[in-house]
């Protein structure tokens, strides 16, 4: 049963449906941040609706940028480096 479910969700034919669901979730999450009540605002940005979505995206892109840069100029070596 689980195998059938996983195969159905993950098979390439359903890529289109997966995309639609993914983007709907993004919209839903972004929109719900506008209506969620703020109980505890420690920092000014906590009050900005959609802040977390923006910050999450920026974090992800900056981590990728940093590791690509450091990996290229310095840290990534061939596998036999220590041999």
């Amino acid at each position: 049963m689980i195998k059938g479910m996983v195969n159905y969700i993950c098979c390439p034919e359903n890529a289109g449906k997966r995309k639609v669901i993914f983007y709907s979730i993004l919209v839903l999450v972004f929109a719900s941040d506008f209506i969620a009540s703020r109980h505890h605002v420690a920092f000014a940005w906590d009050a900005i609706p959609g802040w977390s979505a923006f910050y999450g995206f920026v974090s992800c892109v900056s981590i990728i940028a940093v590791f690509k840069f450091l990996g290229k100029v310095w840290l990534l070596k061939k596998e036999d480096y220590y041999d």
Binding site: V6, F22, V29, D33, G56, I64, Y81
Partner: protein, 587 residues
Amino acid sequence: MTDWFHPSILFIAGAFLIPFLKGNVRKAYLVLIPALAMIAVFSTAEGTYGTHSFLGHEIIFGKVDKLSLVFSYVFTLMAFIGMVYSLHVEDPGQHMAAFLYVGSSLGAVFAGDYFTLFIFWEIMAFTSAYLIFAKRERRSIEAGFRYLLVHVFGGACLLGGIILHYTDTGSTLFGPIEHNGSMGFYLIMIGFIVNAAVPPLHAWLPDAYPESTVTGTVFLSIFTTKVALYVLARAFPGTEILVWFGTMMALYGVIYATMENDCRRLLAYHMVSQLGYMIAGVGMGTEIGLNGAIAHAFTYIIYKGLLFMAAGSVIYVTGIRKLSEMGGLYKTMPLTFILYMIGGFSISAFPFFSGFVSKSMVVAAASHDHRAVVTLLLTIASSGTFLSTTLKLPYHMFFGHDSGIKAKEPPLNMLIGMGIAAFLCIAIGVFPGPLYSVLPYPVDFEPYTGDHITGSLGILMFTALGFFMLLKYLHPKNLISLDTDWSYRMGSRVFMRIAKGPVGVYEGFITEVSNTIALPVIYSFAGIGLWIDRNIVDRFVNGVANFVLTISASVRRIQTGFLQHYALGMVIGIMVIIIIYSLVGGG
């Protein structure tokens, strides 16, 4: 030791029975011991037990309070899960090492004085190293020795610190250390943070853990670093520098994790990152900070175990460890995929998974203290967690390009072990109450508020958006990353090169000088010495010897052994004396 049974005894004494058991009896035994240990710790009341006096010092085996209890709960629980997962392993040595490792970790957690702590600390280092050696490959053995050397260094720092602390304070009791900036304070801290994998002293972890056996890595991921966190929470709560160490670790770990190609090395780097959250929480030292750190250690042990178990299952079945060679496994290993993703959602702190109820506590502790930079940086690390562990790794393992590897689900015991861990990840996420009730301080924290859920989901889902947009830049490549272990891996080579090069040349020069100049002089002196010896010394000695021989021959002739001859001799002697006296004295 009246009303308390030390759970370490079960594991340490129990380990020595393992080689004598076979087949199903051994399997039953391997899960029975952790189960009994669980009963023992869950029925233990707070108090101080097992106090002995040794050379005028108090040795305490059982300091049982809420802090040590919560760690003992999760340690025995995870020992049980880990044992179920490794039931198919036939090698008794690995099971013994695992038992001794678990037993010594529990011993360290319950230790009430520094010397007891130190002894268990060292046993942990050696038994865990065995789990790395147990793979019996060249790479593992090399990595195991590096691991051991780093831990021996850490242990030496700890012992030095303990002795200085004792001479300063006159006490060996294990408790909060005064922040006086003394040498003892820093040495103990270095000893602890080596095991807590704080950069730059962390490289042993991603170096050695991925080289262990499939089941060994699961045990390794649980104990050493979490015992280190426990001792930091006990000795150094509220040490400001730990907040910054922790925050730096959280970021350092995710950047390396995202770079990695070896799936268990990726997870190992991710351990560094997650430990960062806990160490930051300990450094803040507030009630919510310490509660958060400990709650996070609790949930973390279970979901990280699950992630290592699932990644280990893939390695066990396929024999492949590099992401660049995997792909498309969701078709043949759907259960492993689902179980991995439960661990992945937990570590990423999705609502209703265990990480959410603990990680949010640490971040909340930072914002309670109005630490804006720490909060922002820890949030970036959350994004990186999701990116590396829950998006990048499973994407390339289970999806990506279809590698066409023939795979199947792992053995049933591995699936059951993972199943129990996955169940706990969700159960704790949905019902955090029982976890909160065993934390050291009363919990005044509600994880499930509206803004909290939307905030977390915003971070996570838009990280996913970034991942899918930049997917083409994230293909794993057959490369390895350099880290601080470079210093001693290459450093030892430089040492050897110096030994072979300059030192070798110098040594050759000295040999040459001694051969051409010094030796002839020495030989000629030796020649003179020899002549003197033969012609003067020997002759003299021979002469003396001959003289003594002649005398002794005459004496032998005198010594007849007959009493009357001696009596006659004495009478003649007395008469001679009287005659001389009368001639000389009388005149």
